[in-house]
Symmetry: C2
Subunit: 417 residues, 2 copies
């Protein structure tokens, strides 16, 4: 058996730990260099494959690859680009095959979320449908935590930890000030469809913090919400609100899209947090502060959870090991054995069952009033934020790695995207 | 000599390390219990003194007091309340004297920023002007870093570290995505008058990150700004913008106040970050993301700088020691001996020279084009973000302390604020 090279690419929004998965893939491939050739990374994701813009990871030092474990973002660049179906754009698949052939690539590792699982699934069918032998393995990654079958998705645990810690700290701050000043703190978090990240804010309740959560799964009921907030302020003196960017009115409009215009008549992009804060101010008169965490939350490697980092690495490693055992069209998964103590093992799921399935928050994770999380949800979330895994620092800043990312010489004519 | 009790209060916006100063005050008082009596803390700052709402810190365990060192926010509550001058509101000063007399208080430790230094200065004059013997010592604290004489203000170094690390991480994120998606990231930071916090974002430049800073000290020049951003995007593929909340147009209006109205006609409170992001989008068409850090930045004890924590503690400790040596109307200061390696010692400044003086960024800390920081500024800032000082964690969250805060029995009639 001649050994084949591998292709690895990062896809979609990056996270604090997607590079830890890359580290798992590359280090495991290096350990199995008798069976697997060079790992070529796509520069900026799948676009790198289509344009034959490949990075030779074998030219990176072991130290640089090891440093990926604690470096946030996508070390090789990512992209938002979804392959059409084989029927709708055969040209792209033919081009992929050309590139894979030219560089003797037999393994395709795609590191991403739901859309990427779909792309990976399509690539996995190239063997059968177009007669090109390739093994495609999807390495899960998404802060949205919405991939099915796996216990959770790498990237989510770290965002959850960041949001829980930030909510705790800001709430302590507001509690100090509430007597004469700010009584309301609103933090906006990611999650357009699923409220997993917002749910993490509820973990601070057990430390005596009054939290009201606005989930995208629950239609925004202004009167009920205001009543809830007012009760908390009257009881605790202050209240923290965690609002998901995807929260919407009963008619489907996002809170963040208030139809506001600036003085030039331009549509004003807002954010849900200031809208919620102003609703409270107008109705109840409480002084507020608000924050929008945006990329800070998903990039916050300085506060990653240890279990998240370990799982991200383990899933990358497992992806290579499964491929070497002959697997195709699969995704390694985290299978939870127990929550307390947290025990898990690596499993695998067929991509056909992963692609295009979105895992929403179970209904019994949200309290009946729609503004909080249940004990069952806490039991699920707590293990995912467990442990700290600090990056090394130099001169007060994390010492993240920037790879050399040396290009592989092109062998093919250019390809128009 | 009969030993006198002490009063300690936290004032103004709290920080990640103001409790470390409280810890320094109380632990040092306990070590000198032969010379100093009980430390009474004002519940919610000076309001606690006026309303005789005192906390008996002697009832807190040594462990609880030690835990203040790593707990953000104001453990005794803070307030925004400025005493008028002795001439304008003699009643308040007479009340303070009554309360101090009733509880045998001879030391007044006030932990705050510029306004609090002024209040502390007024209290220090009670001895002379109203014949009541009290020693008033101001412990510096403010994320704004705008107190004079001291090298820096506790609270600032930790915010600076948080903003530098967050800017670094988000910039890594954007760089990964820039090929097909987000090219602009805007982070809004605190600082209404002085750009100290915004300046900290510039520290990531040396890691190859293109940063454009908008300081409150520099009038916003839209054309010059857009040209600068465009050059960076063309060179690096992306650009990060750090915008101070205090940035304003040449006519003095804050960028954050765009006169926008929501669909109900309510004035919409914005934030400078979305305004800046939209200006770029409209003119240059680049896709953007933005974040508003707000309280997250000043409460982020999980990422405090070690030098900041050490200085906060040392200044609290020095306050008590100076008081025991007989000092009145002073503020302990950090005096820088050298920047590299960072060496400093504790000094002291007369409150008369501190009160009502605002330390702005020196002009030679801002680059000529107004959008960056100079090497001199970096040399000043870097030592302040040096070192990490992580809090302990339990179940994935920092184990911050909530004090018992037992009230001292009141001896006086009520006082109307």
């Amino acid at each position: 058996m001649t050994k084949k090279n591998a292709f690895y690419a990062q896809s979609g929004g990056v996270t604090a730990v997607i590079n830890a998965s890359a580290c798992g893939v590359i280090e495991t491939a290096r350990k199995n260099s008798d069976k697997m050739g060079t790992v070529y990374a796509g520069r900026n994701g799948i676009i790198g494959a289509l344009t034959e813009d490949l990075i030779d990871t074998s030219l990176e030092s072991d130290d640089n690859i090891a440093a990926l474990r604690y470096t946030p973002s996508g070390g090789f660049g990512s992209c938002r680009f979804k392959l059409k179906s084989l029927e709708d754009n055969k040209l792209e698949y033919e081009r992929l095959i050309e590139v894979f052939k030219a560089h003797d690539i037999g393994y395709f590792f795609y590191n991403g979320g739901g859309d990427s699982a779909d792309t990976c699934h399509k690539v996995s069918q190239l063997s059968e449908k177009m007669g090109f032998p390739i093994q495609a393995v999807h390495i899960p990654k998404t802060v949205d935590n919405d991939l099915p079958i796996t216990d959770n998705c790498p990237g989510f645990g770290s965002v959850a930890k960041y949001i829980a810690v930030s909510t705790l700290e800001a709430s302590f701050d507001v509690r100090s000030m509430a007597k004469t000043s700010t009584k309301i703190f609103v933090i906006e978090v990611m999650g357009r469809h699923a409220g997993w990240i917002a749910a993490a804010g509820g973990l601070v309740e057990d430390q005596g913090i009054p939290v009201v959560i606005l989930f995208p799964e629950v239609e925004f009921d202004q009167d009920k919400f205001l009543a809830k907030v007012d009760v908390k302020v009257k009881e605790f003196g202050f209240c923290t609100i965690v609002v998901s960017e995807g929260v919407h009115w009963p008619d489907g409009r996002f809170l963040a899209e208030q139809g506001t215009r600036d003085s030039f008549g331009h549509a004003q992009l807002g954010g849900a947090a200031p809208v919620v804060a102003n609703i409270i101010k107008d109705a109840l008169g409480y002084k507020f502060h608000w924050a929008v965490a945006d990329y800070l939350q998903r990039a916050a490697r300085h506060l990653s959870s240890k279990s998240d980092v370990e799982q991200a690495y383990a899933l990358g490693k497992a992806g290579v090991e499964f491929a070497l055992e002959g697997a195709n069209a699969i995704m390694p998964t985290v299978d939870r054995i127990s929550s307390s103590p947290y025990e898990w093992k690596i499993g695998q799921a067929p991509l056909a069952e992963v692609a295009n399935v979105e895992k929403m928050m179970p209904l019994d994770f949200i309290t009946e009033d729609g503004f909080g999380i249940t004990d069952k949800c806490k039991e699920y979330l707590l293990p995912l934020i467990e442990g700290e895994d600090y990056p090394p620092y130099e001169n007060g800043l994390p010492k993240y790695v920037v790879l050399d990312n040396t290009s592989v010489e092109k062998k093919l004519p250019e390809f128009e995207l």
